[in-house]
């Protein structure tokens, strides 16, 4: 069984630093591939070596499979950690690793193919018996009417032969159904040579709950769920574990569905199965599987005590999981706030630049994952997330109180951040009550705008 001695990290920012942290703890060397813009980054200084992959634009550096592979080989690495984003779910990189004898710290190319395309993934979910948004193919207006009665409005009409959102029609009430169906069928026939359409319930809101999967290819375990419902424009802003006020039977069903999906595709690595949850109806629907470490993995680490990066590396080395499901216990509650360099007063415009001061002291129950230090440069080329504040408490209320303290105490000067938004969320009654859905944050922002 190959033990990894030197990891090439094909990423940047806080996740590069996060991987280096665990590598240092377990005695693995690291080489960090950086773009020209990240030469002086914390990760470049912390890694045993850093190598410049290319210019600042990610397409010529962090997204270059060739540069990453050559750099990893040239620096004598035996494995590549892709972090999240960039090449983390890129089948070509995983395949290239296999071809040249590098360990890809992630799932197999086949696993990546199984989840990389949403329609393929939906097929696997159906086969695995994992709930999808309710719907069916229809051939006539009568069939459509019967189905609509069953599903309720709003509905979505999709071409069976279509894909990627093409040819979709939203239907808000019964009066529109017949005409929209006709239109959709004739468009589908014209576009795809196949008039069949599919009608499904349009789920406009719900809670975003995801299951952390750990699999060594033999055992598929879960490390509980995360609630990531607080989103703005599909970007997660605050995450927590466990999901508050989730009925036990629903929680158990979601966790089992996540494991069932991973088992069905023979998944082997760390991964996350995402669901949209309708708590009122006690129903949930498969969204997608992310075949990599998530940004929000720390909340799971805080409540389980696991080091997910260390487990991900061990699985990639071929080690069987030294855990059973019963060994994974959950203690307390954890919340993560993503600190972004953006100006919430100016339509969330990114706010890159030089950080003049950065101070994240140890506070009870606070964990900070960041690449920020005094003098750090936030380049304009990449994501604006610059730090993750994670608090853990015996109860959710304690985790919230600790996050409020953290937001008062920490300092990050020189760029604008969304810290005031986090402070507002932590004080907001609906958030404090817990269990909000994906409409929550847009509503809160509207309320904040209209409150002087």
């Amino acid at each position: 069984m190959p033990r990894i001695a030197r990891i090439f990290i094909a990423n940047r920012g806080e996740i590069a630093v996060r991987v280096i942290r665990t590598a240092r703890a377990i005695g693995i060397e690291t080489v960090l591939g950086v773009s020209e813009a990240d030469r002086d980054s914390l990760g470049a200084r912390l890694a045993d070596r850093a190598v410049c992959l290319g210019p600042a634009p990610a397409s010529q550096s962090y997204l270059s499979v060739g540069a990453v592979i050559e750099a990893a080989k040239g620096m004598g690495c035996d494995a590549i950690h892709p972090g999240y984003g960039f090449l983390s779910e890129n089948r070509d990189l995983a395949q290239a690793c296999a071809d040249v004898g590098l360990i890809f710290i992630g799932p197999s190319p086949d696993n990546l193919a199984a989840v990389g395309d949403k329609l393929t993934a939906r097929g696997h979910a159906r086969d695995a018996g994992v709930p999808l948004v309710p719907g069916a193919t229809v051939a006539t207006t009568e069939e459509a009417m019967r189905l609509a009665d069953e599903l309720g409005f709003p509905l979505l009409i999709k071409a069976v032969a279509g894909g990627g959102g093409r040819g979709m029609k939203r239907v808000d009430h019964a009066g529109e159904l017949a005409s929209q169906l006709d239109l959709a069928m004739s468009e589908a026939a014209a576009a795809f040579g196949d008039a069949r359409v599919y009608i499904e319930r349009l789920v406009t809101s719900g809670r975003h709950i995801e299951v952390q999967i750990l699999s060594d290819g033999m055992q598929v375990l879960h490390a509980g769920e995360r609630d990531c419902s607080i989103q703005r424009r599909y970007q997660k802003v605050v995450e927590e574990a466990p999901a508050p006020h989730l009925p036990d039977t629903l929680r158990a069903a979601i966790l089992e569905a996540g494991c069932a999906f991973a088992r069905h595709i023979g998944y082997r690595s760390l991964g996350t199965v995402e669901f949209l949850v309708d708590v009122a109806r006690e129903e949930f629907y498969f969204l997608e599987m992310n075949a990599r470490v998530q940004v929000e993995h720390p909340v799971t680490e805080e409540v389980t005590g696991l080091d997910l990066i260390a487990l991900q590396i061990a699985i990639a080395e071929g080690q069987p999981l030294a855990l059973s499901q019963d060994d994974i216990g959950l203690v307390g509650h954890a919340i993560e706030c993503r600190l972004n360099a953006e100006d919430i007063g100016n339509n969330f415009m990114p706010s890159p630049g030089r950080v003049s001061d950065a101070w994240f002291p140890s506070l009870p129950g606070l964990r900070v994952d960041t690449h920020m230090q005094p003098g750090a440069m936030i380049p304009p080329h990449y994501d604006s997330m610059i730090a993750k504040l994670i608090t853990h408490g015996a109860t959710r209320a304690e985790a919230i109180a600790r996050m409020r303290d953290a937001l008062r105490v920490i300092r990050l000067e020189g760029v604008r951040t969304n810290a005031p938004l986090h402070a507002a969320i932590m004080e907001d009654a609906a958030f404090v009550a817990g269990g909000v859905d994906t409409t929550y944050l847009p509503d809160l922002l509207t309320r904040m705008d209209t409150t002087p």
Partner: protein
């Protein structure tokens, strides 16, 4: 860089040369100028050997940069640098050769793809910096050329 001319930089360089200090950092707004006397790895004039360099050597931007020993021709991309078109063949250039902007000075291989590298400048080759058959990172100096 309005307000800071070549003469200014020369003047500051002379200042440093005449002083006991090893480093000088000059910051003007966003501009940061770091100078270091010969000795430690020099940020202004990096000297190759990535495998033994714990930090990436600062990238000379294309076009080539001027140093004391001539213009540095940087690697336009990361990959394996070859001096010759194939093993055993004579190198594209050697010290003393004259090159023009389009003269091929070597090949960089990235995943079996061969990329010709041109000098980008006219002059005399003074040094072959990057070793044959080893990885060069983006921006690493390949050769030095004394311009006409």
């Amino acid at each position: 860089m309005s307000g800071l001319t070549r003469e200014d930089i020369d003047y500051i360089l002379r200042l440093v040369d005449g002083s006991d200090f090893e480093e000088l950092t000059l910051e003007m707004g966003d501009l940061k100028l770091e100078l270091r006397k010969a000795g430690a790895p020099a940020p202004l004039a990096p000297s190759a050997e990535p495998a033994s360099t714990p930090r990436p050597a600062p990238a000379p931007a294309t076009p080539p940069e001027l140093t004391g020993e001539g213009l540095e021709v940087p690697a336009p991309l990361l990959g394996i640098f070859y001096h010759a078109p194939k093993p055993g063949a004579p190198p594209f250039v050697t010290v003393g050769d004259r090159v023009g902007p389009d003269s091929v000075i070597g090949i960089i291989e990235v995943m079996k793809l061969m990329n010709q590298v041109t000098a980008g400048v006219t002059g005399l080759v003074t040094e072959i910096v990057a070793p044959n058959g080893e990885m060069v990172e983006h921006g690493q100096t390949l050769i030095r050329v004394k311009p006409d």
